[in-house]
Symmetry: C2
Subunit: 335 residues, 2 copies
């Protein structure tokens, strides 16, 4: 039932080599034969098997993307950007949600390897550099998104988290805020650390005192974020502004504020990070540090493809700059 190159060759009265050549546009074949073969392929609805062609050493035109969770809008948007750019180059995308579980991640890496993907884009926060090392050792092209891997020389696309934090902090200070809380998702991850560091530095640069008790961890869920934000707002000397290290936590903070009877931005200014679709959905719309998600996906894929094609001799790190988008969740402090 399934058509093979032999069927086409037979039907066209030529050799399989000739068919292969017209498929790939290689070698030299007369216009006449080419057209004839193409016609026969059409008639037979023949589609060359990429499995077979991959076995002969050609590319699989497949890449893998590991992310913590596809249901998280930020990563869904990243994935979409990667998918689109990949598709433009004829690549298909394997999605791998790891929930930041090292075992799951390892299993995915293993599968991707066995399926001979051409390369992998890693957007997970791998604590286990071990797995990556193995891949590197096996010469699997890899590009990292939004995470640093100081011990490994890998192509990386990242956002300047420090600058983003600095922008958020400056914005709030310039609005007159002096007590600024920070809600991180996870202090272990370097991107969070940098966002915090940037925000604190902005405060320092503007002569604002820093209160360590105002920096808290909000976790990965709306619920945990709301809890953390609530405790922040219930302190003895509550903040008038809050910088959340991602949009989800920012929304959790707004919800917490509302529960405490605090109006945003009147009583509390909130700034997020990421600029996911969520930022425009909520009320008040969210002032947030925008990551150039499309560009991140595009550059990650482009780097990976260069790597795959062996067009690169050295690794590089692309640092993209974030941009503060001012919406309605931040305002000048009440007089």
């Amino acid at each position: 039932m399934k058509r093979t190159i032999y069927d086409v060759a037979d039907a066209a009265g030529v050799s399989i080599a000739t068919v292969s050549k017209v498929i790939n546009g290689t070698g030299r074949i007369s216009d006449k034969t080419r057209k004839h073969v193409v016609a026969v392929m059409d008639r037979l609805q023949y589609k060359p098997s990429m499995v077979a062609s991959a076995l002969t050493g050609k590319s699989t035109y497949t890449i893998g993307l590991t992310i913590p969770d596809l249901a998280n809008p930020y990563f869904a948007e990243i994935a979409r950007a990667v998918e689109d750019r990949g598709h433009e180059h004829g690549f298909n995308l394997f999605i791998c949600s790891t929930d930041n579980d090292p075992e799951k991640e390892d299993r995915y890496f293993s599968l991707l390897t066995q399926k001979r993907v051409d390369g992998i884009i890693v957007a997970t926060r791998t604590s286990k550099e071990l797995f990556l090392k193995q891949l590197v050792q096996k010469k699997v092209p890899i590009v990292l998104i939004a995470g640093e891997m100081p011990a490994l020389a890998l192509d990386t696309v990242m956002v300047d988290d420090y600058l983003g934090g600095y922008q958020a902090g400056s914005h709030l200070v310039e609005l007159g805020h002096r007590r600024i809380a920070i809600l991180a998702e996870d202090l272990d991850h370097i991107s969070n650390q940098e966002r915090i560091r940037g925000c604190l530095q902005a405060m320092r640069d503007h002569g604002v005192a820093i209160d360590d008790s105002l920096v808290q961890v909000g976790g990965f869920t709306l619920d945990s974020g709301r809890t953390a934000a609530t405790s922040l707002l219930n302190g003895s000397e509550p903040p008038t502004a809050l910088f959340a290290c991602n949009d989800l936590l920012a929304i959790a903070s707004i919800q917490a504020a509302r529960e405490q009877g605090l109006k945003v931005p009147d009583h509390l200014s909130v700034v997020g990070f990421d600029n996911t679709i969520l930022a425009t959905m909520i009320d008040p719309s969210l002032t947030t540090v925008a990551q150039p998600i499309q560009e991140i996906g595009r550059q990650a894929v482009d780097l990976l493809i260069q790597e795959i094609r062996n067009e690169k001799s050295i690794k590089q790190r692309a640092v993209l700059l974030p941009e503060l988008i001012i919406r309605q969740s931040s305002a000048a402090i009440e007089p």
Copy 2:
């Protein structure tokens, strides 16, 4: 550099047939040899190539999922559910966002075919049954999600849209509403038609008059939805309640209401559909008809795998029931 079954055979001093047998657990081999071979495979970090094994006729353990847009939270959640269930069975997932563009869809189908995926889950609103027919003809296992394909006998997992609409309508009527608007995303698609039909029927069953001018199309974006909702709210005899055919449109409606100085739910009750993560994020939290997204993904994968394994003789349609989740965006009509 890359290890093959030959390397393992050599290193273990056995034939490749033996190695193959221990990999697959087939044939009979002494415990001694098995252990020895396993040890050698470990030492060599050997991973069998699924490309080669697929070429010999075995499954690729890969499925494709076509959706309109991965960046849309509803489809991201569906994709995550499909991914998870597939992963439990050792399948990897190719993501294909088509933007409902028939050409893109066709291109994806073509690629998936060439890569010999074991099956495809289709969650796009294919206007072109043509492509599906070709796949069916080629005996590619297919499962449809959330869309009807009356002309084709295909395994399908769907939600009872009519019932969902009915639940939404009943809820609003029981709250005392008499002027109920409906915002659809696209009247061409049957699931929207059914949701509307259900809502209207609920109104009729409760003796509520139906005003056709209160049914409008809101499109696929927040912006277009807000525009449509605005015009709905600006009519001569504005509605006191609105049923949106998905959460995105519901949110757009709430935004439109706010822009008009209308409070939700005080002046306007809003009910959505899908129960995506968005529903809990906005204020007021959204009353919405919940789709059992996990279950949809699970059943779609299970059906597909049965199909792949040839364990099914007849096609079937799984109709899952939606459930109304009452939150804060709907309330009894003002006296």
